[in-house]
């Protein structure tokens, strides 16, 4: 693959590029789903091609092709340079890149069991068994299960001399029970909604989830929700389960710190950010106990944002985002780092596939563990609501005002978990919410959750991001807003 990559770099240079980088990528995917005891989707796909990014006349161009011949790659590189020169027709200033070293390396994400090598019959049998367990519960009207496996090889080469091969194995799995009764549809998911848990692991992730144990429980909860009390509308104490808090971090910390948004590069689609450059090291983002990092290093965990190098050839790093409540850092790339006074990119350029341009992306943006056990946290709460498993999420285009709803809630009274609540929701303003955090559970309750469906960029790219979180408590939160006046 490096021969083709080198051919592309050579052509780009001859055609007038001052810098070029190339990604040859081979993506393999398998999708399995069941619905109501029948196999739904059963498919696999592979895609291989090359994406070539060049800097010419001080402006960017990118072209991609699946014609992996020397002729095809050379034509693609020439097209990229031609596009860059067209970009220069509407540039204001030349692109400046932060310096970076050249690396020659190879890295593979650790996994114990390759799902592509295991018998498909075993995988389907597990999903069908979980599906059957859920259907045993009277009142369940729809059952769904899914597994998704991806194996991604990428060969990165740049005109400064880097040659980096990375192989990532990604696994996702989840189950859902739905109940339609009267005039409402209720749903419960395990271990998370919208496809379950996703991580940079092999089939061992599926085995660790114990689907058969949890299938009856979520089915019973889906049916029980019909008779549960409606979540009240009030301002009060909120405890968020880990997976919901992971999505809260994603939307109200992860996206606002993307420097391309801050600089207006996403203004037409994904939006901008309230974290203008004057806020760095000045804004009280959260309460003192809140520490958030963007950590792509393997030692942070096997998350969807874990890698050895980003897709710009920069090594994985850990960046302080919020330290003791203070706003400390953005996600940057080689083009934007100098704008915030950094000498080096924070290593967050990622691409969905060979035919997409790398853009600034979340890695693993995680809330570091606190000091509480979950039982102590509940016992310490006189009057509150525990909300678990996301049902809907929405935030404005500058990431101030958000609203989330979850599948299930539980009333907490006098330090004890009480009755079930249906249709829970909460809303707020980002910095007010994070400043109201007064308790975070400890490492034993911490999970690196995977968000596999983060959309950004034009053309749209879908990326997986990681979010470590443990259950946490927030005070004076607006609760029940989604169903107000309905």
């Amino acid at each position: 693959m490096y021969d083709l990559a080198t051919a592309a770099l050579d052509t780009a240079k001859i055609r007038g590029a001052s810098y070029a980088d190339v990604r040859v990528m081979h993506l393999r995917q398998r999708d399995l789903t069941t619905k109501n005891g029948q196999v739904g989707t059963l498919a696999q796909s592979e895609s291989i091609g090359i994406g070539i990014r060049v800097l010419a006349n001080g402006a960017w161009g990118f072209a991609s092709t699946d014609r992996l011949t020397r002729e095809g790659v050379a034509a693609c590189a020439a097209q990229a340079v031609s596009i860059a020169k067209a970009s220069a027709l509407a540039k204001r200033e030349d692109v400046v890149m932060a310096p970076e070293n050249a690396y020659v390396d190879s890295w593979q994400s650790p996994f114990r069991k390759d799902p592509f090598e295991l018998p498909l019959e075993t995988q389907l049998a597990l999903l069908l068994a979980a599906d059957a367990e859920m259907r045993r519960v009277k009142g369940v009207t729809l059952t769904e299960t899914d597994m998704q496996f991806r194996k991604i090889d990428s060969w990165f080469a740049s005109s400064i001399g880097s040659r980096i091969h990375q192989r990532k194995m990604i696994t996702g799995c989840g189950i859902v029970a739905t109940s339609f009764q009267g005039d409402e549809i209720q749903k419960r998911s395990y271990p998370n909604s919208f496809g379950g848990q996703h991580a940079l692991q092999g089939y061992e992730l599926v085995e660790s989830l114990d689907l058969l144990k949890h299938a009856p429980r979520i089915a019973e909860e889906a049916v029980a929700l019909h008779a549960a009390a409606q979540c009240p509308q009030k301002t009060g104490t909120l405890i968020l389960g880990g997976s919901q808090l992971g999505l809260q971090i994603h939307e109200s910390v992860g996206h606002p710190i993307e420097l391309d948004r801050v600089l207006g590069q996403e203004a037409n689609f994904a939006g901008t950010s309230f974290l203008t450059l004057d806020q760095l090291n000045k804004l009280r983002y959260a309460s003192d106990i809140v520490n958030v990092v963007a950590d792509a290093r393997p030692e942070h965990g096997q998350g969807l944002g874990t890698f050895a190098y980003d897709d710009e050839g920069v090594p994985a790093q850990c960046t302080d985002v919020i330290k003791a409540g203070q706003f400390r850092g953005y996600l940057s790339n080689r083009e934007t780092a100098h704008l915030i006074g950094l000498q080096r990119s924070s290593g967050t350029m990622r691409t969905e596939s060979w035919n997409r341009l790398p853009i600034i992306r979340m890695t693993n943006v995680s809330l570091l563990p606190g000091t509480w056990t979950f039982d102590d946290l509940v016992a310490d709460t006189d009057d509150g609501i525990l909300m678990e498993t996301n049902r809907s999420w929405s935030i404005d285009d500058r990431r101030y005002q958000f609203q989330f709803s979850t599948e299930i809630g539980w009333e907490i009274k006098g330090g004890k978990r009480g009755r079930m609540l249906k249709n829970p929701s909460y809303s707020g303003i980002t910095t007010e919410f994070w400043n109201s955090c007064d308790a975070i559970c400890k490492r034993e309750h911490w999970t690196l959750w995977g968000t596999p469906n983060c959309g950004k960029g034009q053309p749209m790219q879908t990326m997986g991001t990681g979010h470590g979180a443990s259950p946490s408590r927030f005070r004076n939160v607006r609760i029940g807003t989604a169903f107000s006046e309905q």
């Binding site: 029948q38 739904g40 989707t41 059963l42 991609s64 067209a86 549809i185 590069q265 996403e266």
Partner: protein, 461 residues
């Protein structure tokens, strides 16, 4: 065999494109037949596209791609599965057939699986425009430059995209079915920012000549200027005038509710509501891929001809769309809306056309004592699937209307609003147009004036 077109090459003739894709299909069918596969279906899709992206009054990303995907479904002994590859040499196509067979063989039999359909007849559609296919990076850069120059002149900041694409698709199966389609597609979208205010305009069309980037830039610029000094209003129920993009991104969430499979699965908001007065009498909806403002192939993922279906007649849901499988289960005829098999979702109408009215935006504003004019909605998600309560934000231009005229800009609101209730409260309709937003695929919808739209909270800008 490989597809021999060079990246970025101009459009080839329809006959040439079809012949090239058909030869790939014929190769797959021949290879499958040679190893005794009972039934085989092949889809081939080729896309050549380019997108110029600008921000801060300059181009900052500029991309092009050329992709070919071959997707093979085999069906043997009541078992089926799909394998997809982007490699078109014989060895890779053979590997895709074998992968599909291996996947299919791993599962229990499905007694509901139908044999592949035979030859079908399709109505022709012409949606390929050479001028769009031939658009160059320089053409896009010049249009972007003019828009950015306008922003600079007005003291504003422009961001957006100008893209063009051509797609060729074909499908065939071992029972002699063959279908082919091609189209072109251009999009110009622009956000103009003035201080903390912003506004937006966007259009898409098969023919790039139908899009006037400078007119869109001027509209966004003028509205961004009017959006400055936004007032904070109290949340509550307001009369709203939704421009077509705002209507689209909300009603777009209804499309899957009209799938027969969604009702069979009891996850549609139309369960127990078919044949009832669910919407106002001024709401009628058809699914019509042949409508002059629509794009899309005249056949579905199974190769069945798409039919025009009356979904809602004067507020009453009348019909659903059916794949072959859901049609058999419901003892109906397929309507040509099925997804590629195997899948768990069945089908959906992808070409919704709302009946419109005659009111202009100006007439809607003039008739409003107090209300809000909404340019665009953002980050819309479903809060309640049966009452179809959606949440989301206004974005890029929210204006207060008082005594028949726009009096000021307003800070953006969060809404929590049932679409069912909303479509019972429509007071005025504009002409239906091809609308484009960011949450739903393009449909033909009108601007709407709606009473009692529920805004629950306000944000900081």
């Amino acid at each position: 065999m490989t597809v021999t077109r060079k990246p970025g090459a101009a459009a080839m003739s329809k006959a040439g494109a079809t012949r090239e894709l058909r030869s790939i299909i014929d190769t797959v069918l021949r290879l499958a037949r040679s190893i005794g596969v009972a039934e085989t279906e092949v889809h081939v899709d080729e896309t050549i596209s380019a997108l110029t992206r600008f921000a801060n009054n300059a181009i900052h990303q500029n991309v092009a791609e050329h992709t070919v995907n071959v997707s093979v479904r085999t069906q043997v002994n009541l078992r089926t599965a799909r394998a997809t590859t982007n490699r078109t040499d014989e060895d890779s196509l053979r590997a895709a057939i074998e992968a599909s067979l291996s996947l299919a063989d791993s599962q229990p039999k499905n007694p509901h699986l139908l044999p592949l359909p035979g030859k079908q007849r399709y109505r022709g559609v012409q949606r390929f425009v050479n001028k769009t296919a031939a658009l160059t990076p320089e053409d896009r850069a010049r249009a972007v430059r003019r828009a950015c120059d306008l922003a600079v002149k007005k003291g504003q900041t422009a961001a957006g995209i100008f893209s063009s694409a051509q797609t060729q698709s074909a499908m065939g199966n071992s029972r002699g079915l063959f279908a082919a389609y091609r189209d072109t597609h251009a999009v110009f979208s622009i956000t103009m920012q003035e201080g903390s205010a912003a506004s937006w305009a966007k259009e898409n069309a098969a023919d790039v000549a139908d899009i006037d980037p400078q007119r869109l830039a001027e509209r966004a610029s003028e509205k961004a200027h009017r959006a400055t000094d936004a007032r904070e209003l109290a949340p509550g129920r307001y009369t709203v005038i939704l421009e077509p993009a705002a209507v689209l991104d909300l009603v777009g969430f209804l499309f899957y509710d009209f799938a027969a499979t969604a009702l069979q699965d009891k996850r549609s908001c139309l369960n127990e509501r078919m044949g009832k007065q669910v919407f106002g009498k001024n709401i009628s909806i058809v699914d019509d891929v042949y409508h002059a403002l629509q794009l899309g192939a005249p056949y579905d993922g199974e190769g069945m001809p798409r039919q025009r279906v009356l979904l809602v007649d004067r507020g009453v849901p009348k019909n659903l769309v059916y794949s072959r499988g859901s049609a058999k289960a419901a003892k109906k005829k397929p309507t040509g809306h099925g997804f590629m098999l195997p899948n768990e979702y069945g089908e959906a109408p992808m070409n919704l056309v709302f009946s419109g009215g005659k009111a202009s935006l100006e007439e809607m504003i003039a008739s409003t004592e107090r209300g809000l004019l909404v340019t665009r909605l953002w980050y819309i998600r479903e809060v309640d699937p049966y009452e179809k309560i959606m949440t989301g934000m206004t974005r890029d231009g929210l204006f207060l209307v008082e005594k028949g005229r726009v009096t000021s800009a307003a800070r953006n609101f969060r809404f929590n609003q049932s679409i069912l209730e909303m479509l019972r409260n429509v007071e005025m309709l504009g002409p239906a147009v091809r609308a484009t937003g960011e949450e739903a695929f393009e449909m033909v919808v009108p601007a709407m004036k709606i009473r009692d739209f529920h805004f629950s909270e306000v944000t900081k800008f």
